[in-house]
Amino acid sequence: MPMLDIKNLTLEIETAGTRVKALDKVNLTINSGEIRALVGESGSGKSLIVSAISGALPQKFHLTADRMSWKGKSLLSMPTEERRQLMRRDIAVVFQNPGSALDPSATLGEQLEESIPDELVEGKWFWQRRQSRRKSAISTVHKVGIKHHRHYLSAYPHQIPTDISQKFMLAMALISQPKLLIADDPTRGMETTTKTQVLKLLTRLNQTKSLSILFISHDLLAISSMCHSMTVLYCGQTVESGRMKMLRKRPLHPYTKALLDSAPSFQNDLPPKSLLPTLDGTIPSLKHVPIGCRLGPRCPRAQRDCVITPAVRRIHDHTYSCHFPLHMEKL
């Protein structure tokens, strides 16, 4: 049984009387001990999925799903208190903008220490508990690669550089020893060495503590080196999802292929000074989403049938939704 199982998640946003489907029948599963990548252009709804899982959606967003469960328990019908405990113990989220996701009026140490669930604090008396909190805060901060804990734990969010606050968000997520880490672009804006450190840390935690990770990023190189499986999102629709190896070797959806082709490091036979292959056009805005397959207007293989939303098809654990998939001749 998958750890987190989402089927046909639809998110509607009400704007001026009409409802726009920001997410259209999104499927996502994360197995225990798996690192799953969630890829897509900006505006494809990746962060909305994060908010939907963490239950942080505004009131005017309407969420429906055929299934949205955590270890078999439905997240949609779960009582608030249970959901809260779940978020406190099992799921941790690293949000996209670390600068605004930290409380400007509290020191980083305070915010880090309040993320520790009570069960993980040792000691009976408050001074012992305080010491224990302090100790685990310092060790977590070291773990994510911040050296000067004395300086940074007593600093306020506006006093620290962005990459440090990103690491702090990661530390705040990891300090509760979660089972699933949802990391929304955790390495954005970091330079390569720091990024490698962070990715290594995540991989190590995945291997030693069997931490499942939902890794959301634009960095295809990092994704292909650390993730086991990948889900590709385009304009609120899941276009393809499967094991990383399969997707890289034989992408079935034209969008996945275009995405992979646009990363130069995946192409060994790229002639010098040649143009990188890209899809024409840009991702449509939510006001003007095409009917049917939303890739339609940009897709090189589009035909008349593409105005009907393609059903999800499946080959083993590789799912795709396309009427005219690539590489099918060979089968």
């Binding site: 908010s51 963490s54 239950g55 942080a56 809260r84 405990q85 779940l86 978020m87 406190r88 113990r89 941790a92 989220v93 949000f95 903008n97 605004s100 996701a101 930290l102 409380d103 400007p104 009026s105 509290a106 020191t107 305070e110 309040e114 993320s115 669930p117 306020y156 506006h158 705040m172 509760s176």
Partner: protein, 342 residues
């Protein structure tokens, strides 16, 4: 320390400008400059010469002003035309009465306004919020003199719950020590303290209520707005997604961030509070600076007007700067070396 210095400089410079203005008033008011400045009408030419000599009115304006400033600093504020009493003594009696009234109104505004505002903000856009908001809107839009008159009509004349005017019944002979009636009662030793306190509270009831309705309403509205703003911030979402309970999120993240922007608004409120206090005390014959100044206006008591204006302005500036300083000290996201403002 540096920030204290900055605020100190700002405070003294503002006071200097005010002092220049009040000195200029002596020339701007109609009538004799000498009497405007001192409040003493000279008996004969010899007396007049003496006074001019004493106040250096025969020297250049600059030296006149320097002398005026030193006199003010030493507490020689001149005399009232009308009563002939020292202005320092008169203001020393009247100003504390106003401050006392404004303080109680502010106290009520904070004690009631903050929690109610927080509650409305947390329950934003529900029936509870809408009703609190509309009640506070109505309270905010009452003209204070009308409200005070209404209170007098209803509570004093119809229901006879509270006395009509004054600070305390004339039966109690409370010696003036601090100027604050409640403290004076506690300090007085020849009266029945509990009876006197009850009587003073009865007298305080209506003016404080009339004043605090408006302050409380604006306090509720400011707090509510600020709480709603903070609720929409990403760090609150992040705190919730970390599984903090509702109370933890409120006490650790919402409250502090919501109160930080309310504090400077509070400083702005103080000015209108003092103004309202002056109106209210005129209606209730409260012996404060407001009714005193209005009497001075009626009787063309220029020295009193000059010094009264200076005294009120000083109090307002002092409170504003103190609150801003306090805000600067407790708000970590504001730069400590930012310029000071009034």
């Amino acid at each position: 320390m540096r920030i204290l210095g900055r605020f100190g400089i700002l405070f003294s410079l503002t006071l200097l400008v005010l002092a220049i203005f009040s000195f200029a008033l002596a020339y701007l008011f109609p009538g004799d400059v000498l009497t405007n400045l001192t409040g003493i009408i000279p008996q004969n030419d010899a007396h007049r010469e003496l006074l001019i000599q004493k106040h250096r009115l025969d020297e250049a304006y600059f030296f006149q002003f320097v002398h005026y400033l030193s006199e003010m600093l030493q507490g020689n504020w001149g005399y009232s035309f009308v009563s002939g009493l020292s202005l320092k003594e008169e203001i020393g009696l009247a100003l504390p009465a106003t401050i006392e009234l404004a303080f109680y109104a502010m106290f009520i505004a904070i004690v009631i306004g903050l929690p109610v505002g927080c509650y409305a903000g947390l329950k934003s856009y529900t029936a509870a919020d809408y009703s609190i908001n509309s009640v506070s809107m109505v309270g905010y839009s009452f003209p204070v003199f009308w409200l005070a008159l209404l209170f007098i009509l209803l509570f004093s004349l119809e229901l006879n719950i509270a006395p009509l005017s004054g600070r305390i019944s004339l039966l109690f002979d409370v010696p003036d020590k601090t100027g604050f009636i409640l403290i004076d009662i506690l300090l007085a030793d020849n009266i029945d303290t509990s009876l006197a306190l009850r009587d003073a509270f009865h007298h305080l009831l209506l003016p404080t209520l009339a004043l605090s309705v408006i302050s409380t309403a604006s306090m509720i509205r400011m707090t509510r707005r600020s709480v709603i703003d903070v609720l929409n911030r990403p760090y609150i979402t992040a705190a919730r997604s970390r599984g903090l309970s509702r109370w933890q999120t409120f006490s650790r993240h919402i409250l502090r961030n919501a109160l930080l922007p309310v504090l400077p608004l509070l400083a702005i409120q103080i000015t209108s509070l003092i103004t309202n206090a002056m109106i209210v005390e005129t209606l209730f014959s409260w012996p404060g600076i407001g009714s005193w100044l209005i009497q001075a206006i009626y009787q063309r008591d220029y020295p009193a007007l000059r010094v009264g204006m200076l005294a009120v302005a000083t109090v307002v500036i002092m409170l504003t700067i103190t609150i801003d300083l306090f805000n600067r000290l407790i708000d970590p996201s504001r730069d400590k070396y930012e310029r000071a403002t009034v």
